[in-house]
Symmetry: C2
Subunit: 490 residues, 2 copies
C-alpha cells in the first residue's frame, strides 16, 4: 500500500492557498452540521516519526470551535494502560456524538512499534490486528465517522528533519529513539507499516496515505478527504447497518422455562459449612490472581428481587477490599448515552490483578433497552455480536469472565416484592419501576432466552443460578467463581 503507491502531484502555492481557504471555510461550516446530526468523528493521524502529525492536527483544528473537539496525544503508553486491555486507552478517548476527536498516533503506532521491537509475538500481533478490525467496524456500525491518515515521508526527508530538530537545543529532546530506529531501518519499518495498512484497510474505515513532504500540502490533502468524509457520513446517517453473523463458538443453553427451581435447596448447616470453605478458597485465590495480575470480571444479571445483592455480598466478603470493585449499573448518563454503548463498561474495567463485579451489565442493551425501545431494533440485534466481540477482547487480554443469570419464578418474585413493600427497612429496595417491569415478565423472558442463546460463548459462558433458595444460589456462584479462577491459575 505504501511502497507501490503513486503520490498525487503537489499543486502550485497559489493554487494550494485558494483551495485551502475554501476547505477551511467548509470544515468550519460542517462543524455545525456535525453537531446538529450528532455525528461523532474520529480522526486518526498516524505516520513516520517527524512526519509532522502534531502540527498537521494543529492546523486542522484551527477551523473548529474548541468546545467541539479534543486532541488525544497517544504516542506514550502509560503504566496504567499496561494494566488494561490493549484497546482501552483508545476506546476511552472516543468522542461524544456531535464532537471530533483527533488522535495523534494510535493503535497503528503502538502495535507496529511493539512488533518491530519484538515486544509482541507474531501471534499476539495478529490477534490484536483482529481486535482492531472489529473495533473499527463497531465504531462505524454505531455511526462513528472514522478517518485514518498515514503521513508518509521518505528516508532522506526524515533524516533531514531529525537532524534539524537535533541541532536546535530547544527541540533536541523531541527526537525519540523510535525516530532514530525508524530512519536507521527505514525499509524494515516500511514493510511493517505496509502490511499493517493492508491488514486494517476497510471500505468503512479506509486508510489515506498523505504525502508529508510539505505542511501546507499535507493540510490540503487531509482537509479534502476529511470534509468529503463528513459530507458522505451526513448523507449515510440514516442508513441501517448490516447485522454481522456470529463467528464465535457458542454453548448450548436451556430455555428458562426448562430450569427446575424448587428442588434446588440446601440445609442451613450445610450452607454455613460450605460457605466458610468456599470463601476461604476464594480468599486465597484472590491473593494469587493479584500476584499473577489476572483480571477477573464477574457479571450479574437476573430478575428483580432474585437476590443479586446478597449474592454479591457473599463474594465480596471473601475478597481483599484493595483488590476489587462493585459497579452498580443504572441507566446511562447523558455523556455515556452519547457514546458507543459499551464505552461506559470499557472505562470501568479492572486493572489486571483486580476483580470487577457488575451488578447489572452491558446486557441491558438486549434486555431493557430492547424492550423499552431505548435503542433501535437494528441496534439491539447488532449488539449480540458486539458484546461477543467485547468479551473476546477481554478474553484475549487474559481476563476471567464469569456471567450469572440469577433465576427465580414469577410467584417467588411476587412474594419478595410484597415482603419488601411491608418491611420498612426494605422498602427503599422496591420501586414502581420494579412493578412495571414485572408486568413485562414474558417479554423479558423472551429477550433473556435469546440473549442466553446468542452470547454464551466458550470463552465467556452464561451460568444460570437457581435462586428460589438464595443460600443454594450463593454456594453455586461461589463454586463457579472458585472453579473458574482455579482453571485460570493452574
Amino acid at each position: 500500500m505504501l511502497n507501490n503507491r503513486i503520490m498525487k502531484e503537489k499543486p502550485s502555492d497559489e493554487e494550494m492557498n485558494t483551495r485551502l481557504k475554501a476547505l477551511q471555510k467548509k470544515l468550519a461550516a460542517q462543524t455545525l452540521a456535525v453537531r446538529e446530526h450528532k455525528l461523532p468523528v474520529i480522526v486518526l493521524v498516524e505516520g513516520w516519526g517527524t512526519s509532522g502529525k502534531g502540527s498537521l492536527v494543529g492546523r486542522i483544528i484551527n477551523n473548529i470551535d474548541p468546545r467541539f473537539y479534543r486532541v488525544a496525544s497517544l504516542e506514550k503508553v502509560r503504566e496504567e494502560d499496561r494494566r488494561k486491555p490493549f484497546l482501552w486507552r483508545f476506546v476511552k478517548e472516543i468522542p461524544e456524538a456531535g464532537n471530533f476527536v483527533f488522535m495523534d498516533s494510535g493503535w497503528m503506532d503502538q502495535l507496529t512499534r511493539e512488533y518491530a521491537h519484538k515486544e509482541l509475538s507474531k501471534k499476539d500481533y495478529e490477534l490484536r490486528i483482529a481486535n482492531v478490525r472489529r473495533f473499527e467496524r463497531q465504531l462505524t456500525d454505531n455511526g462513528y465517522l472514522v478517518v485514518k491518515f498515514f503521513l508518509n515521508i521518505s528516508k532522506k526527508e526524515q533524516k533531514k528533519r531529525i537532524r534539524t530538530l537535533a541541532d536546535d537545543p530547544a527541540t533536541k529532546w523531541r527526537v525519540t529513539d523510535t525516530d532514530l530506529a525508524q530512519n536507521k531501518h527505514y525499509d524494515k519499518y516500511m514493510d511493517i507499516f505496509d502490511k499493517f495498512l493492508d491488514a486494517t484497510d476497510s471500505s468503512r474505515a479506509p486508510w489515506y496515505i498523505i504525502d508529508g513532504c510539505s505542511k501546507k500540502w499535507a493540510e490540503l490533502q487531509v482537509l479534502e478527504i476529511l470534509t468529503e468524509g463528513i459530507d458522505v457520513a451526513l448523507q449515510n446517517h440514516s442508513l441501517a447497518v448490516p447485522i454481522p453473523q456470529n463467528v464465535f463458538p457458542l454453548m448450548d443453553m436451556p430455555k428458562l422455562s426448562d430450569i427446575s427451581l424448587q428442588d434446588k435447596t440446601i440445609s442451613d448447616e450445610e450452607y454455613s459449612k460450605r460457605l466458610k470453605e468456599l470463601q476461604g478458597k476464594l480468599r486465597e485465590l484472590h491473593n494469587s490472581i493479584y500476584h499473577k495480575k489476572i483480571p477477573v470480571i464477574i457479571a450479574y444479571e437476573g430478575w428483580d428481587a432474585a437476590g443479586k445483592g446478597g449474592n454479591i455480598k457473599r463474594v465480596t466478603e471473601a475478597l481483599d477490599p484493595r483488590g476489587y470493585e462493585v459497579f452498580p449499573i443504572a441507566s446511562p448518563l447523558p455523556y455515556e448515552k452519547s457514546r458507543h454503548f459499551l464505552w461506559r463498561f470499557f472505562t470501568r474495567l479492572p486493572r489486571s490483578g483486580h476483580v470487577a463485579i457488575f451488578d447489572r451489565t452491558w446486557y441491558g442493551r438486549v434486555m431493557v433497552e430492547r424492550i423499552e425501545g431505548f435503542c433501535s431494533e437494528n441496534d439491539w440485534k447488532r449488539a449480540y455480536n458486539e458484546i461477543n466481540e467485547f468479551e473476546k477482547e477481554l478474553y484475549d487480554w487474559g481476563a476471567v469472565i464469569i456471567k450469572f443469570w440469577i433465576q427465580i419464578d414469577k410467584d417467588t418474585q411476587l412474594e419478595r416484592f410484597t415482603l419488601r413493600q411491608n418491611t420498612p427497612e426494605k422498602q427503599w429496595k422496591i420501586t414502581d419501576e420494579d412493578w412495571r417491569n414485572r408486568e413485562k415478565w414474558d417479554q423479558y423472558e423472551t429477550a433473556v432466552n435469546e440473549m442466553l442463546q446468542k452470547t454464551s460463548t466458550t470463552y465467556a459462558p452464561w451460568h444460570i443460578i437457581e435462586s428460589v433458595d438464595k443460600k443454594y444460589a450463593r454456594l453455586k456462584t461461589l463454586e463457579i467463581i472458585v472453579d473458574a479462577i482455579e482453571k485460570a491459575i493452574y
Copy 2:
C-alpha cells in the same frame, strides 16, 4: 499523641463478640440514614505497615451494601499522580453524597514516607501539611464526615508480623521496603508520625489512635467511633458553617463601572502584526513549559457574547495541540453536583507541562449559583475562601494561574445578541437563557464586583479585559499570558 497515649484496656472475647454484633447491626442500619440524608462519609485508615489496614477495612465494609461504598487503595503513588497537585489523587476519590469511601492509606502515608525518605524538604512538607489542613476543613465545611484512624502496633509486634509474612512464599511479596525501614528505624518513624498527627488533628476531623494488636479489637474500636461519628454528623447536618476570614494577600481591584471601554481599540494592521508576534512567542513558550513541566491554567469568565470563544481560539492557535485542552464548563452533572463543587475542576486539571483553558470556571459558584439560588447563601459566601485555597494549592504545585474577566457594556451585548439572532450560522450561539441572564445584569454586576474584590490574590490575580473591540481584547489576553509564562520560566 502516639507515644504518650494510654490505650484502652482490651475487653474479654465474649464481651467483644456481643458488642461487635450490636455495632455491626448499627452500621448496617445507619447506611440507609446516610443515603437518606445524603451524607458523604470518608474513612481514612492510616497506620504502621502490617498493622492490618486492609483487613480492617474488609471487616468494616462487610456491614455495608456494596452499592454504597468504594475502597480506594492509595498506598502506591502512580506516574500520573506525580504530574498532578499532591492532593489530586485523594480529591478525585471523595464520595458522592450518601456514599462511603474507605481510603486504605492516604495523605499521611504519602507525606510522612516522602519526608522520612528525604524526598520532601522540611519546607515543602510543612506547605503540604497546611494544604492538608485546608483540604480536611473544606470537606467538613461542605458536609463531609471525615473519620481518621491510625492503626498503632509496637515495634515487636510489627517485627513478628513481617516475619510471618516473609516466611510464607504466598505472602512474601507483600512485605514492602517501607515496612522494613519502619521497623528498623521504629523510633524515628514514631516521632514523624506523632508530629504529623498533632499537626493535622482538628475538632472537625480528629485523629483516633487504634490499638492494632488484635483484628477483632481493632474492628470494635473503629466501629464504635465510626457509628458514633455518623450519629453526630446526622444531627449536625443542618447546622450552618462558620465563614472563615480571608488569609491570603489580595490585590486592589476596580469596580466594573469604573472600567472605560470605548477608548480600548486597535487598528486592523496593528492587530495582525501584534497577533503574529504574540502567537509566535506563545508557541515558543509552550515548548519550554512542556519541557520544564510547568502546568498552566487559564480561566475565562465574562458576560455572554463578550467574545470568550474567539479570544480562546487566538490562544489555542498558538499552542501545540498535544499540550493543551479546552474545558467548556456547563452546569454540573448529577455525579458532579453531589460532590464538593471544586471536585469537577480538580479532576480536570492539566498534567504538569500542559495547558488547561477553562471556558467558564469554578467561579460559577459565586455568580450563577449565587444568583439563581443553586446553593445556599452560606455555601457561596464560604466559596470565596475555598476558591482562594484551591488556587493556592495549584500555586504551591507550581502552576501558572491566569484569570480573565472579559468585560463589555450592556449595549454592546444587546448589539451582539441581536446580530446572533439575525445571522443563521450564529443562531445556535444564542439561547433564551442568555436573554434571561441579561435581565439580571445588575445582580451579576454586584456579584462580579464582589468576586473580583475577594478572589484576586497575588498568586492568582484577576485580569479585566476590555472587549468592546474584540481585537484589542485578544491582544491583551495574549500579552498577559506570554508575560505570566515568561515570569514563570525565567
